[in-house]
Every structure is written in C-alpha cells, then in structure tokens.
C-alpha cells in the first residue's frame, strides 16, 4: 500500500523533502504509478550539484573519466526508469513501499547516529512540532542507496554503492583532499578557500558563495597587509568601481575581504571634497573649509581608532593633476595647482603622523595618469608608499544579475538531458529556468520518443498522451540480444507505429519551428550519437540498447514522413537506417566493443536485404526541417551503404576503418560529413585496387631505357643530359635492379638548377609513363608555407595548380600524406626543397631512410612505389650554375611572369625613326621601352605596397619583407643574393637547413642538374618565323613593331608546351591571320606600322589549341 506524499514529507527535513518532491515530479512526468527510489536518484542526479552527485564524484573509480561515468550512470538510471510500468496520469504518484521503508530506515539510523543526534536536538528545538525525527538528506540518501534496485543501477555504471555511501558518511574534510591525494599540500591555485565550507553541502551552487569581483577586493586587501608600500593605487579603467566595492565591503564588515591581521578597519572617503576643493567649484571659501574639516575628521578618527586603522579614499588621481582638456584660465589653473599641492602635503603629513594606522587608497584610469601625477609630485610616490595595483576586472550590472542557469545548460549539454526532469521547483532562488531551454528539452524528448517508438519494444514513453497504448511488460534489455526479434516486433506494431511517429513528428516540428532554428531539430540525434561512449563492460547490454535507440532516432528525424508513406518496404528501411546510424557510431567511437556490435548488426541485416530488391528512392520531402544540403547527401549515404553491403562484409569493415577518426566527425553536421567521407573512402578503395592492377601490369612489361628516354624527350626536348640521367635511373628502378634493393621501394630524385617548366614537364611525364596517368602527381611548393604566395604566371601546367588553396591550413607534410593516402603510386613533386621547414625536413629525412612518411599527427604512410622529385634552383656548386647562366634579355624569372593576355594589332603611320629603322632592312622590330622598365615597375610596385603598409604603421620590418618579396621577382642572381641575406637574418635555422639540404642531397638516389632554357634563342627563332610570315602576308613595305611583352608571352608559351612546332603553327595561323585581317581593313600603305601589343589586364578569352596563346588577335 503506497503512502501519500504528504505523509512521507512529514518525516523529512526541508532539504530532504525537496528531494522527495523532485522525485515525485519525475514519477509524475513519466506517468508512473508510484514514486520509488529510482525516481529519487534520478531527481538528485539531475541537480547540478547535489550531495549525491558530489559523493559519486569522490567515490567514482579512477579508471574512467568522470564525465563518462556520470553519463553512464544517467543512462542506466534512465533505462531502469523506462522499464517501470506506467499508468494513468496521477497528480502525485504516492510513495512506494520500498521508498517509504527507506525513509523509515533512515529515521531509525538517524536516531542511533550520535553525530546527528546533536543536529536532531537543534532541529527539535527550532521546530515546535518535533513529534518525529526529521530525516536529513544525508540519511535519506544513505538508505535509498541500500535499495537493491538502486545499487544495481549504480553497479551498472561502474559505481559501488558502498563507496558512495562511504563518501556520504565521510564528508570531505578539507576541500583540497578531495581533489588531490590527502598527503599532498593543497594546490596553490585553490588557495582561496575562504568560506569554502559554506555552500559546499548546502546549495552547493557554484556561484552561491561568490560575488564577482571578490578577487579584486582580496587583492586590495593583500596590499593593505604589506609591510611597506602598503597604500594601494588601483590602476585600470575599472579601478573606481573596484575600490568602491572594496570600501563597501570593509564598511559592512564583510568576511573574506581583509587579511587576517586587519580588523575593524573603517574608511573615510574624502574624494568629493578634494575634487570640489581643487576645481574650485561651489565657492572657494566653502570648499576650503570643507576640506579642512575633512582632514580634521580624519585626524580625529585616527586618534579614536580602536581597530587596525582607517582607510582614506582620496579618489581619482586626475583630480590632483592639471586637466588638459578643460584648460582653465591661468590664474585659476595656478590656484588649482596650489590646492592640489595642499591636499598632497596634508595627506603626507597625516601619513607621517599615523604611519601604522592610516592607509591611503586611490585610483587612476591608466598608467599615464599616474606618470603625470609623479611628475607633478615627485616625492609623493615614496612618501605615500604607493603600491600600484592593476585591476582589470569590470564588475558590471549585467554580471550581478547573471544567474548561472546551469539547468538550462544541462539541457543542451548532457546528452540525455531528456531523461531527467528539470527540477520543477528548483531550490536555488537565483536560478530561473528559461523557456527556451525547456523547449530544447521537449525537443529532445521528441527524439527520445521517436526512438522509443522505433524500438517498439520499450514500453514507456516520456510523454503521457502517447504512452497508453503500448505494452508495458516488454523487457527490452533481455530481448535485445536478438536483433531480429526487435524487427519482428516492429512489424507487428507497424501501422500504429507509423501513425504515431507521424503524429509525434508533426507536433514536435510545430513546436520547434515556432521556437527554434531548423537545425536544432536535427541536433538531438547528433548529440546522442556522439555521446555513446561507454566505458564499463558491465554496462554493455544497456549501452547496446541505447545505441540502437539513438541510431533509430537519428535518421527518422529526417525520414519520418517518408516512412509513413512507404508501406511494404519500410521495415527494411528501418533496418537500413539503423545500420546507417550504427556505422556512424562505429566511425565516431573507436571502441572495439561497438565496432563489434555494429558488425553483428550488419550481418544480421544483410540477409533480408539480399532476398529483397531495394529500389526505394531515398529523396527526402522538401518540407522537412533539415538544411537544404542534407537530402542529397543522405541519399548518397544510403546508396553507398547498399553498394557496400553487396560488396561484402570485408569491404564494410575496411570502410569503417577508414572512417574511424572520431574528432573529424565531431562538431560537424555529421550526416553530410559521413556521406562525403563514405564517398571518398569508396574512391580510395577503388583507387587502390586500380593501382594494384597498374602495378601488376607494370611488372611483366618492363620498358627499356630507350623507350623511356624517347618518351621523355618528346616532352622536354632541351634537357638531353638531364633526361639521360633520369631515363637511366628510372629504368633501373623499374627493372628492380636498383641499388640492390627490393622492387617496390620508393625513388628519390632531386632536380637542381633552373628551368622550372622543364622540371615540371618531366615530373608530369614520369607520372604518365610510370603510373599511366598524368594526374598521379602530387605537387607541393614548399615556398608557399612562408605565407608569401608566389604570384607566378598563369602559365601553369594543369597538374601544377597553386597548392595554397589545397593546403588550407594543413601543413605541407599533412597535405602530402593525405594525398598519398588517396593516391599511392604517384609522383610527389616538391618544388623549392631548399625552403622546406623543419617539419618537412624531418619527415622527408625519415621517409627517405625508412620508407615511411610520417605526418604531423604521427600517422605513417608507406612511400613504396612512390617517386619523389624534389627541385631547387640553388645548386650545391653555385659557380657552375652561375657561369652557365647567361641572363640576356629574357631571363627565366621574367618569362615566368608572362601572362595570357589578349593580343592586338593596331595600325599607325610610320614616324621618321621608324622609317629609318626600316631602311635598315628589318621587317619586324621589337619595341622594348615598356619591357625595359618591366623589372623596374615591379620593384616600384613592391616598394609602393611596402610604403602603404608602413603608412598604416604596421610593418616594422618593411625592408626585410621587401627582400623576401623581391627574391620572387628578381633575376636569379638577385635571388641568390637575397637568399644569402635571408640566411644571415634567420641565423642558426638557415644554417641548419643548409646542412640538412646537403645531407638530403647525399641520400637521394640521383641528383639531376638542369641547364637553363635558352630563352634568347627561342625568342630569335620566334622573330625569324615572324619575319618569314610577315613578308608573305603583308609584303615587305610594312613595318611591324612587336612589343617585348608579346615576345615574352610567345616564348613562355613555347617553353610551356615544349614544342617549337606548335608556336610556329600559331604564328603561321593566328598571327598571320591577324596581320592579313589588319591589311584588309586598313589598306596598308608603305609607311604604315603594324603594332602588335598585349592588352594588359585582358585575359585571352579563347586559347589556340595546344599552346597558351590567344586563339585570335584583335585588330584595332
């Protein structure tokens, strides 16, 4: 026979009764017929700082993380509550026999217990109706913990109720011993233990004992206790408020502000008198009299003083120094100065007379004010014994009203917040449960409910309206070992289930649409999924069940409507969803047990799948409350899963392995993330099989040196020597007779010297020849890490797109490792190896030694069957390089800067000089005015930008920056020079990297030195070709002037495409066509000049096939 709540309440103290009320509220919410111990536990745990929670913290096993264990506890309590039968809605579910028995037990205990006897006496003396012993919360708790159901629940979460009881019986004596082993001295950062005892057991609310800014007061107090320099001058924008708070605290005799040595201090503010007196407001005589009176008052107070002394607050220092802004007339100013001087000297006198008993306290907004004061009164700082105390904390009004509504936070934080009620009548007056959080809670409950419905085995619903129809007797924990049973049950209840889900969903959608952003609807699923980390083995069954529920609740959120619509297939869809959710979990939580659980799920589900064709369209209805991007992604996800399961379990498992990186999924919209990752990992799987195939194909078909060389020469015709070396090395490598090592190792090459494009072309050719795909090339420019993006030309091979975009915050080495993971068997092309930073250096050195590349996360990836090509423009023996390099008109740097501008032809009348030139017999002339200034212009641009920066007052080391910019834009010699400068700048690091480079060079398989590309010859050939064509196109009379930039552009194009013939083709076709067009349009006379110029800033719209040159030339 249950006991009415009111009767039970009479046996309890106020605190315990409150706990009981909370428990009753839990029972009511869950529609349980009786309130039992579990409800009480649930209610107590839901409080952020209840004695129970606190005791659990102390009693918990150190093997698990505390939060994990608390989550587990909450989970197991929630599950146990789910199992309880529910009934019709009762206003106050009466107290169950077992709980009442617990109360009786605790009464008896309390009577016996000697230490509480004393308390009992107090209670009975306070309360007139001391008919029975009122049970304290502590004893109430102790006997609840005796309840076998409760101890089982705690046991499931890895707690021993015995330990908890012990922890409750023995409250922590000093606070420190709770946090640290009691043998240790208390930690320094917990030194502020004033009033630590208060509020520990009581409300225990984090903010209960504290008021903000207390720390400020404490610090001021500490200054007062000093031997010398004990008069604080508070510096800071918020100093005034801090001092006033402090003085208020002192006057009201508040505890904890003043150090132990100081008692009964009083304070006298003389702030307003000073400011009136000094500024001369309100009549000079009056103010003077007041001032004098005040000083007398202070003197009297000091004489009469019985306590430690008197604090005199003289206000802000600004009052004592001349204020520039008001600029009073000179006589007044003098008066003010005199007045300030008077105040200062008076205070000094007072201090001298009462050194032990008088404290001065003042404030200054900033340090500058103090400096001004010191310059006015140089002696004051020492005479007054001022101690500067920076105060930086502003106590604001908003802060005071701040109530740390932890309950609302719990709602969003504790993943299973929905299982716990918000305490309806929360004891702490400062807490104000906000409506938003309540709804959040409801929202989660919706998810819970859907989950519960999906499970269809769980009997109880959190919400009353929907619960009545469900069978109460099912014990999910026992049943859930068999997955299929659940599915069968789902089938039975299917029709009702669908209706229910729809109904629920609609209702909650409405609620949430009204109060929330759409995203938050998705959230509960995510949250739950994340939190499924369960540590304890003993906890397995429960966890398993919960997992399932959350995986159920995650997707139905999105798909519920559809569920209702589809009829025959929906059972399978449910299982699909569960699998989705399950594998997501597996990917999130690297927990062997869960992986296992998921695998078994897979195997369980696969049989129905194979028997039935799945052709459902998974597109989501548009009106669902999910962000627009989600539907398509989820579709992918679903299909991906289907593909995989047809592929077999092995694939599945591998995929899970690929996805198993918990933090990468955290915090992102996990469904879309998962979809994307699924896709990539599928790709990976495909690629690796592909490469295995390549690999096999390669073996029985060894190319000989000659075919390789011919293939390379086709790409780069001008580097014969280098090609020979490369061809030889690579063919040796491919034949496996390489330095006696096994086949399938990596190959390391370093390309030294100039000819950037040539090196790149060769790398790309290697990828094509060896790996049968030009795209099997991983390109990284090590210089891009320096934060300066080299703005080279738009003339780039497709594979060599600027890698900064791809890097996106990853370090180079991570980027390479990631790429290598996606496409093993590639050419890794590392440009500017001399600029490698320490990380890259270390990783590369390791890789070259061990065959494993280690990224910054410590993950290793094998580099076998990978060709590393590093490049550097610097060579070890600089002389050779420099003498070979004869920079003429067209240096490599300049050609690299060429852009793909549109070209145009304009027609002008010949000037005299031009005709003079013509008389020399030239048909084609290069105009170089602009070109000559090209480098200069660049320089100017740079210095301009630097000046700008300096004007902003930002660059302190403009010159240095300028240098590092310059080395990108100057001819090679200058680069060398600057490099050396850079060396001296960077000091030991640069030296180290030089050492490293030398070391690295020793280790690579082959060093290949490149010759410079002869741009001048190329330019000459271009001009020759033009001359030939001009004569035939427009006749010998017409003079043609070609802008130097155009020549550069053509030369660059020739360099890039590697074939002279293509350029000639272009000249014969496009350029000649343009000239003919110009002739036709303008009827060229003998003295006409055709000018071929680049339209700077206008990028060619269409390209001629095969070359990076415009497909047509404009005629103006």
């Amino acid at each position: 026979m249950p006991t009415p709540v009111s009767v039970a309440r009479q046996c309890l103290t106020e605190e315990a009764a409150r706990a009981l009320d909370d428990a009753v509220a839990v029972a009511r919410r869950r529609n349980h017929a009786q309130t039992n111990s579990l409800h009480a536990i649930s209610a107590l745990l839901s409080l952020p700082s209840s004695p129970l929670r606190e005791a659990c913290t102390r009693a918990r096993s150190s093997a698990y993380s505390p939060r994990l264990q608390f989550k587990a506890l909450e989970l197991s309590v929630g599950v146990s509550l789910d199992r309880l039968p529910c009934s019709k809605n009762l206003d106050e579910p009466p107290v169950s026999n077992s709980l009442m028995a617990a109360i009786k037990r605790s009464q008896a205990n309390q009577k016996r217990s000697p230490d509480s006897f004393h308390l009992h006496q107090i209670h009975s003396s306070q309360q007139t109706t001391a008919s029975a012993v009122k049970v304290e919360l502590k004893h109430f708790l102790l006997s609840i913990l005796d309840d076998p159901i409760v101890s089982r629940v705690f046991g499931e979460a890895g707690f021993r109720s015995y330990d908890i009881k012990l922890a409750i019986v023995h409250p922590p004596a000093p606070q420190a011993s709770r946090l640290f082993k009691s043998s240790c001295p208390p930690p320094v950062f917990l030194c502020n233990l004033m009033d630590s005892e208060q509020g520990r057991w009581g409300s225990g609310f984090p903010f209960a004992g504290s008021e903000d800014g207390d720390d400020n007061c404490r610090r001021i107090g500490e200054v007062l206790a000093r031997k010398s320099g004990r008069n604080p001058l508070i510096i800071g924008v918020c100093s005034k408020g801090a001092v006033e708070r402090f003085l208020d605290g002192v006057n009201s005799g508040k505890q904890g502000i003043l150090p132990a040595g100081l008692v009964r201090l009083s304070s006298i503010p003389i702030e307003s008198e000073i400011s009136e007196f000094v500024s001369g407001e309100g009549g000079k005589g009056m103010a003077e009299a007041k001032m004098a009176q005040k000083f007398n008052e202070v003197g009297d107070a000091l004489d009469r003083c019985s306590g430690s002394g008197v604090i005199v607050y003289f206000g802000q220092l600004t009052a004592l120094i001349h204020d520039d802004s008001s600029s009073p007339p000179p006589p007044l100013q003098q008066e003010q100065e005199a007045a300030a001087g008077y105040v200062v000297s008076e205070l000094t006198e007072l201090l001298k007379a009462h050194r032990q008993k008088l404290w001065l306290i003042g404030t200054a907004d900033d340090y500058e004010t103090f400096l001004k004061f010191v310059s006015r009164f140089p002696a004051a700082e020492k005479d007054w014994g001022l101690h500067l105390l920076p105060i930086t904390y502003r106590s604001s009004a908003s802060m005071q009203g701040f109530s740390p509504t932890k309950t609302s936070l719990m709602g969003s934080f504790v993943p299973f917040g929905g299982f716990f009620p918000t305490p309806s009548d929360f004891a702490n007056p400062v807490s104000s449960p906000c409506s938003a959080s309540r709804c959040d809670l409801c929202n989660k409950k919706c998810a819970e409910e859907v989950a519960a419905l999906m499970r269809a085995g769980s009997s109880t619903s959190v919400y009353d309206q929907y619960s009545t129809n469900f069978p109460c007797s099912l014990q999910i924990a026992e049943a859930d070992a068999n997955k299929r049973m659940n599915v069968l049950m789902t089938k039975d209840d299917r029709t009702t289930l669908n209706a229910k889900i729809l109904e629920l969903q609609k209702k909650w959608n409405n609620v949430c649409h009204r109060l929330h952003k759409p995203q938050s609807v998705q959230q509960p699923g995510n949250q739950q999924a994340r939190s499924q980390v369960v540590a304890s083995d003993s906890f397995r069954l429960v966890a398993d069940e919960r997992e399932r529920s959350s995986s159920g609740s995650f997707l139905p959120e999105n798909r519920c409507l559809q569920l209702g619509a589809s009829t025959a297939n929906d059972l399978h869809m449910i299982s699909l969803m569960e699998q989705d959710g399950g594998s997501q979990l597996a990917s999130q939580v690297e927990h062997p047990y869960m992986q296992k659980a998921c695998n078994t799920q897979h195997s369980g589900i696969q049989s129905p799948w194979s028997s039935q064709k799945l052709s459902t369209d998974y597109r989501l209805p548009a009106d669902l409350a999910s962000p627009p991007s989600t539907p398509s992604v989820t579709t992918d996800l679903g299909l991906g899963m289907i593909n995989m399961s047809s592929g077999g379990t092995l694939e599945n498992r591998r995929l899970q392995g690929n996805m198993g990186c918990p933090q990468q999924l955290l915090g992102s919209n996990s469904s879309s993330e998962l979809g994307a990752r699924l896709k990539t990992s599928l790709e990976v799987a495909q690629q690796s099989s592909l490469s295995r195939y390549n690999h096999l194909e390669m073996q029985p078909n060894p190319h000989d040196f000659k075919t390789l060389l011919t293939a390379l020469q086709k790409k780069v015709g001008w580097q014969d020597e280098a090609l020979c070396i490369i061809g030889e090395v690579v063919s040796r490598y491919r034949s496996g007779s390489f330095r006696g090592s096994r086949f399938g190792r990596d190959l390391w090459l370093i390309f030294l010297g100039p000819d950037r494009v040539g090196k790149r072309r060769i790398a790309s050719a290697l990828a094509e020849i060896i790996f049968n795909d030009r795209k099997r090339l991983i390109y990284a420019d090590l210089r891009s890490q320096e934060g300066i993006s080299p703005t080279y030309s738009t003339f780039e091979l497709q594979e060599f797109q600027a890698c900064e975009m791809k890097l996106r915050g990853r370090t180079i080495i991570d980027f390479i490792a990631d790429e290598l993971r996606q496409k093993p068997h590639s050419v890794v092309y590392l440009e500017n190896i001399d600029r490698a930073d320490v990380l890259v250096q270390n990783s590369l050195s390791q890789a070259i030694r061990t065959g494993k590349l280690k990224d910054t996360y410590g993950r290793e990836i094998s580099t076998s069957n990978t060709i590393f090509v590093a490049t550097s423009t610097v060579t070890v023996d600089k002389e050779v390089f420099a003498s070979d390099m004869k920079p003429g008109n067209y240096s490599e740097e300049r050609v690299l800067r060429a852009s793909r501008w549109q070209m145009q032809i304009s027609v002008e009348c010949a000037t005299e000089s031009a005709s003079a030139r013509r008389s020399g017999g030239l048909a084609v002339v290069v105009t170089s005015e602009k070109a000559a200034s090209a480098i200069k212009r660049k320089r100017r641009d740079i210095s301009d930008s630097c000046e700008q920066d300096r004007a902003m007052g930002i660059w302190k080391q403009g010159d240095k920056m300028q240098k590092s910019f310059l080395d990108l834009n100057l001819p090679v010699e200058d680069v060398e020079e600057d490099l050396e400068d850079g060396d001296s700048e960077a000091g030991p690091d640069a030296e180290e990297s030089e050492v490293w480079l030398r070391d690295f060079l020793e280790q690579v398989d082959e060093k290949v030195v490149f010759k410079p590309y002869n741009f001048n010859e190329a330019a000459e050939r271009v001009l020759e070709e033009m001359k030939l064509n001009m004569q035939s196109a427009v006749g010998p009379e017409v003079l043609m002037e070609i802008d130097d930039e155009v020549i550069v552009q053509i030369v660059a194009a020739g360099w890039l495409c590697g074939e002279e013939e293509a350029i000639k083709e272009w000249i014969r076709g496009v350029l000649r066509g343009g000239c003919v067009e110009a002739c036709r349009r303008y009827k060229l006379a003998a003295h006409s000049i055709l000018k071929l110029t680049a339209c700077e800033g206008v990028v060619a719209e269409k390209q001629a096939p095969g070359v990076c040159l415009p497909a047509s030339i404009k005629v103006k």
Partner: protein
C-alpha cells in the same frame, strides 16, 4: 611535493634548447592547439605547455568559481607554474585570453619574461567612447544567451567564424576543444574575459612585446593591434599575418611559426 598544479594543468616541458618558451593557449582551446607549431621550436627551446584551468581537458572540479572570477587568478596559476618549474627567464607566447594573462603576469613579475608574443590579443573586447574593441555590450549579451540556450549550436556557429579561414580541419579541432569545455565554465570564462579591461595597465608593461595580428580576426579588429602598440610600455612591434581568423596556430601554423621564430630571434 608541490607538483599538484603541474599535474592538474597538465604542464609539460618538451624540447632540448637552453631557453624556456611558454606556450599558453586561448579560450576554447587547450595545449593541443600548439601541436602544429611545436615541432618548429622543440629543437631550439625548452617549451613549456600547460592548460588553462578552464580548458576542457582539465578536470572541471579544479575550476573554482569563487577563485577564477578575474584574470589575476589565471596569472597566479601561470606564475606558480613557472616558479614550480624553477624558471627564471622565459619567453611567453600567449593567444587570446592568455595574451591578456601574459600582460598581467609581466606587470607583476617583469624580471621573469624576456619577451611577450601576443597572438590575437585585445586589452578590451567591448567598444568604448574612443576605443574600438569590436563588440557592443548588447552583442555580447546575445552571445551569452545563445551560449546558455544551446551550447552545442553556439559552438557550431562560432567555431567557423573564429577560425575564419576556410580550413575544415582547424574548425573541427577548435569545435572539439571548445565543446570540451563545460558550458557553464565556458560561459563564466567568457564573462570574465569580456568584463576585463586591460587598457589602463598596458603602460605598466616593461617587457618587449610582439603583437601578432591576422589580416581578419572576428574577435580583434586591426585597430586593436595599433592600440596595443601605442600603449604597451615596453618595446612593441606588430606583425601582420597574411591569413584570416582568430586562431592562426590552427589555420596557418607554418606561417605563424615563421613569424614567431622571427619575433623570438629579435
């Protein structure tokens, strides 16, 4: 003994150099934020790493609401750690709130620091009459209520904003550490930070400082760097980092490392 604080705040000393270098992380991260920066300095410095008491990785029980009401308590922690380790001179790299902590520590114990490097530092986040801190009081209140209402949603929204640059890995990492913080602690620390105002005390700093400011930082406008430069008492330089976001050590580790190296060598 006395190693409690070292254990509690996960203090680590790594590296093989002579000089000490302290890396202090900012709000919403923990010492793992320096992971990508660390390898650059380990060969040359003895690097001290620690977690602020508010970090998600620290046992929340250590966070005493009565104590950590102002930044001074954090300063106490820092100074205690340095004393426990017996460090007499060190360079200090502080991000965000740790930059503030570093400033205050250097005021209290100038002899301890050879140099302060302040990343994403601001003496005051709120706007004032003639000061642009980047935030208005109302905005902050909105942020606070958003944090209170749904912490996870707030984290999801704030992390990409703070990281700024389009670096998913950094966003993920920051979200992780930010979400690791217990929401109530996070909110409390936020309030502490936003209620702090270091403007008046900057002049007391005597240690040479280097302010590292990214091109675009949601939390710290560029003018703040200029303000710091003109008001900090010691020799101060400003380095602009050509990247976006409040967390360059996550989003652009290598460029930041280079700037740090440069700043430290000067």
């Amino acid at each position: 003994m006395g190693n409690n604080i070292l254990d509690a705040l996960h203090v680590q000393v790594v590296g093989s150099g002579q000089r000490f270098l302290v890396f202090a992380h900012g709000f919403g991260t923990d010492q793992s934020a320096w992971q990508r920066i660390l390898p650059f300095f380990v060969p040359h410095y003895r690097v001290v790493l620690y977690d602020l008491v508010c970090a998600g990785s620290v046992n929340p029980d250590h966070f005493d609401y009565r104590r950590y009401t102002t930044l001074d308590a954090y300063v106490d922690d820092l100074l205690t750690i340095l004393d426990e380790l017996g460090i007499e001179r060190c360079a200090y790299v502080g991000h965000s709130v740790s930059a503030m902590i570093g400033i205050l520590a250097a005021i209290r114990r100038p002899e301890l620091f050879t140099k302060l490097i302040l990343i994403g530092a601001s003496p005051r986040f709120l706007n004032d009459r003639d000061y642009h801190g980047g935030f208005e009081q109302e905005e902050i209140e909105k942020v606070f209520s958003a944090m209170e209402a749904n912490y996870e949603a707030w984290v999801k929204g704030y992390a990409p904003l703070a990281v700024g640059a389009d670096v998913p890995a950094a966003v993920r990492e920051f979200s992780r550490t930010l979400f690791n913080m217990r929401p109530d602690i996070s909110l409390f620390v936020c309030r502490t930070v936003f209620n702090s105002d270091l403007r008046g005390v900057l002049g007391l700093v005597r240690v040479p400082c280097c302010v590292i400011q990214t091109a675009k930082d949601v939390s710290v406008p560029a003018s703040v760097a200029a303000y710091l430069k003109s008001h900090l008492g010691g020799m101060t330089t400003v380095e602009m980092l050509n990247t976006e976001g409040h967390l360059p050590h996550l989003s652009a580790p290598s460029p930041l490392a280079r700037v740090l190296q440069r700043a430290l060598s000067r």
